[in-house]
């Protein structure tokens, strides 16, 4: 060995102090092309966490992960996409499918780190330098992987519809339904928003598969009124459908109706296959509306003997006596009710609790009682002259028509109010041949009625006068008529916030004369059948029951639900209240079946 060989390791060491030949950032200052598919950008405030990017990704490079700041938002899953750049192939399908157009790609393509875990990142949440990059791939304007417009429902023309009480919406054909079902991205955000948490993506999927019996089974897990809700549901599901962000939401309600319309009522028993094992418990339900009958259905499935007490001659509550048949034909409501009754539910019609039978008697004779008595008392305007005989209640007009009676409205009517009852009363009046003017205190945009109903009422010839405040009812020259004095309103911003309030302009008053004035400004509950002590125990605030967990009250045997107990006062909320109360009553009557380890098992709506 010569001396050089001996010293060479020490010469190598001196290299350690020289400038390296390799670089941590080998490429610099070479930007990607303007439309390059580079690193992902997500505008998290616009993203609703539908997960369509995750579903479409062929490389499983996207996971949906919870992000705390978005948890609990209405119409938002609270999840955001997390990318794995070890898997991503930069195809851009995630950007193309993004329902909110929140996902895009920057033209950044160089990212250096010594920590491989960094290549998993949640775009828009983990701070990255390209988040605000203006370049990169965007979905082309007007390019959609699914049709942005829904399949239009065939409807009677307004000229035809006002001629009769025939159902206005005609229903989808099979081809139409399948096309509409294909627009669903199956995100499930609608499931969280639906008060009954119906399994919307799966029953829509059953349409794609042509398996309507499965669709019916899925719907009955959480809603025994699918024929009804397929027609008149307030469809909050559609209001959060991500497809509706860039286009029109999936017509979930019409698809639900389509499934029910494909199945004959006589096949329900075979398809739903509800097996009942009697357990010996007796439950009384007051009110055969959607809340009461929903509770009846789910209680019956658990083997409880159920007796429903109904003051009217037929079941359905407001669905029967408040929703006109051009929106919900009796035969479809009966399809839902008949199946519930077929399970052995005993409905005692024309039986008013408090008059025909005492509430205390029910408490004595039954193991549990569910109150779902709804809102049956029309609110009063409390203006001078309101007791004029030509001032009618909207609820009464609707009930008369539903019962085949002539409400005697005349040829020119004014409807007061902006809710669904007002719209129904107006459209019923058109069908009875009357000219209709709707007076509403606020703007049309403030009307609590379904926008579809408002639109259809206008199409059918109803004139809406917004910002019109009734101040007095006056005798008309003709005793068969009535005059209303009303004033114009200006919308004024409340300094304390909230929506603008209408302020009467006393210098802009009007008087108009009609054959009838139909008041439809709201309704309240009638709790006269309960004693004062009982009412106090049932915890009533602002005229509504305030139940606790599982709709239970402070009265041991009593559960409450429906319009008289919730703020939304729509059919689907009442249906969920009934289902929830059924769970509560079953737990109450069979506590041994609900140990800590199997809590709610078998009564979670998916049994």
């Amino acid at each position: 060995m010569n001396l050089r060989d001996l010293l060479s390791p020490f010469f190598v060491w001196q290299r350690a102090f020289e400038k390296p030949y390799t670089s941590l950032r080998p490429t610099i200052d070479r930007p990607g092309a303007p439309a390059y598919r580079g690193f992902h950008i997500n505008v998290t405030e616009e993203c609703i966490g539908c997960g369509s990017c995750h579903t479409i990704c062929q490389n499983h490079a996207i996971d949906m992960v919870p992000v705390a700041e978005f948890a609990g938002r209405e119409g938002d899953s609270g999840l955001r996409p997390r990318f794995d750049y070890g898997r991503c192939c930069w195809c851009g399908l995630c950007v193309d499918i993004c329902t909110a157009a929140s996902l895009r790609m920057s033209n950044e393509y160089a990212w250096f780190t010594e920590d491989p875990d960094e290549f998993h990142f949640t775009a828009g949440v983990d701070d990255k330098p390209w988040q605000h990059n203006e370049h990169g791939y965007r979905r082309a304007e007007g390019y959609h992987l699914y049709p942005p417009k829904r399949i239009a429902m065939d409807m009677l023309s307004p000229d035809e519809s006002v001629q009769s009480f025939e159902e206005v919406a005609r229903g989808y054909s099979e081809e139409q339904a399948r096309k509409e079902a294909d627009r669903c991205v199956e995100c499930g955000i609608c499931v969280a928003t639906c008060p009954a948490h119906m399994d919307v993506p799966d029953y829509i999927h059953s349409i794609r598969d042509g398996d309507y019996e499965k669709g019916l089974q899925l719907m009955y897990r959480t809603n025994p009124f699918p024929a009804t809700c397929g027609r008149i549901c307030t469809r909050r599901c559609e209001s959060v459908c991500p497809v509706g962000i860039l286009g029109e939401p999936v017509a979930i309600r019409w698809l639900k109706r389509f499934i029910v319309d494909q199945v004959d009522a006589q096949d329900y028993r075979r398809i739903l296959n509800d097996q009942i094992t009697e357990n010996g418990h007796r439950v009384a339900i007051i009110g055969a509306g959607p809340g009461g009958l929903s509770a009846a259905y789910y209680l019956r499935k658990k083997g409880h003997a159920v007796t429903v007490f109904e003051a009217q001659a037929r079941g359905g509550g407001m669905l029967r006596y408040g929703v006109p048949s051009y929106r919900l034909p009796d035969s479809d409501l009966d399809k839902d009710i008949d199946y519930i009754v077929s399970l052995g539910v005993d409905i005692r019609y024309n039986t008013r609790i408090g008059k025909d039978l005492g509430f205390d008697k029910l408490l004595q004779d039954y193991d549990a009682v569910f109150l779902s008595t709804g809102l049956s008392v029309p609110s009063s305007m409390r203006i001078h002259g309101e007791d004029h005989p030509r001032v009618l209640s909207g609820l009464q007009v609707l009930a008369d028509v539903a019962s085949g009676r002539d409400p005697g409205i005349g040829k020119q009517v004014a409807v007061i109010g902006g809710g669904n009852v007002a719209m129904d009363a107006a459209r019923v009046s058109r069908r009875l041949g009357a000219g209709v003017t709707i007076l509403y205190r606020r703007r049309i945009a403030d009307m609590p009625a379904d926008t579809e109903e408002i639109h259809e009422s206008q199409e059918e010839g109803c004139t809406i006068v917004p910002q019109a405040i009734p101040v007095e009812i006056i005798e008309a020259d003709n005793p068969q008529r009535v005059t209303i004095k009303w004033g114009e309103a200006e919308m004024v911003q409340d300094p304390k916030g909230g929506r603008p309030r209408p302020v009467l302009q006393e210098e802009r008053m009007h008087t108009d004369t009609y054959d009838s004035i139909i008041s439809a400004i709201g309704q309240g509950s009638n709790l006269d059948f309960l004693s004062k002590d009982t009412q106090e125990q049932l915890a009533i605030e602002w005229g509504k029951f305030t139940p606790g967990e599982y709709q239970h009250t402070a009265l041991e045997k009593v559960f409450v639900g429906g319009d008289a107990a919730n703020r939304t006062a729509d059919a689907i909320s009442a249906i969920e209240d009934g289902h929830h109360a059924a769970r509560g009553i079953d737990r109450f009557l069979n506590p041994q079946a609900y140990t800590e380890t199997q809590a709610d098992n078998g009564m979670n709506g998916h049994e």
Partner: protein, 148 residues
């Protein structure tokens, strides 16, 4: 009433009477939930009284120049009786009408006397009552006129 203190004492007494009125009605209320609501009305009147006491003690200023929104809801509603079975709607009407009457009383008093400190006090009290009326009218607008 010739002095500011006398006027304020009268106004404070009126608020106390209103609080007593609602508390008494609460004791007789038959409808479910009305007892709690009427007691809340009574508490609201007590808050009005406290506010005026603070004015009298020099801890708070009346604001006669302040603009107060007038929804004019109570102006066209019928009179209702404060019966034992009073409903929430009628209780609000009673409250709105009482505040409106108080507002008009102070406003009229202010108009009848020459400009000066006393007039400012009456104007300030009128604005206070206008605010109370707005409170109950806003409640009526939100809870009773929901569909209208």
């Amino acid at each position: 009433m010739n002095s500011v203190d006398e006027i304020l004492d009268y106004a404070i007494d009126q608020e106390q009477q209103a609080a007593d009125f609602y508390a008494n009605l609460a004791g007789r209320a038959e409808k479910a939930g009305m007892k709690e609501i009427l007691l809340e009305f009574a508490a609201e009147e007590q808050r009005h009284k406290e506010r005026l006491l603070a004015v009298k003690n020099g801890d708070h200023e009346l604001t006669p120049e302040q603009e107060v929104l007038d929804l004019k809801i109570s102006d066209y509603l019928v009179e209702v009786d404060a019966t034992d079975d009073i409903s929430y709607q009628d209780a609000l009407i009673v409250a709105m009408k009482r505040e409106r009457a108080a507002y008009e009383l102070y406003r009229d008093m202010a108009e009848k006397i020459p400009e000066g400190r006393l007039r400012e006090v009456f104007e300030g009290l009128a604005k206070e009552e206008a605010k109370h009326k707005l409170f109950f009218e806003s409640e009526y607008d939100e809870r009773v006129l929901m569909d209208n």
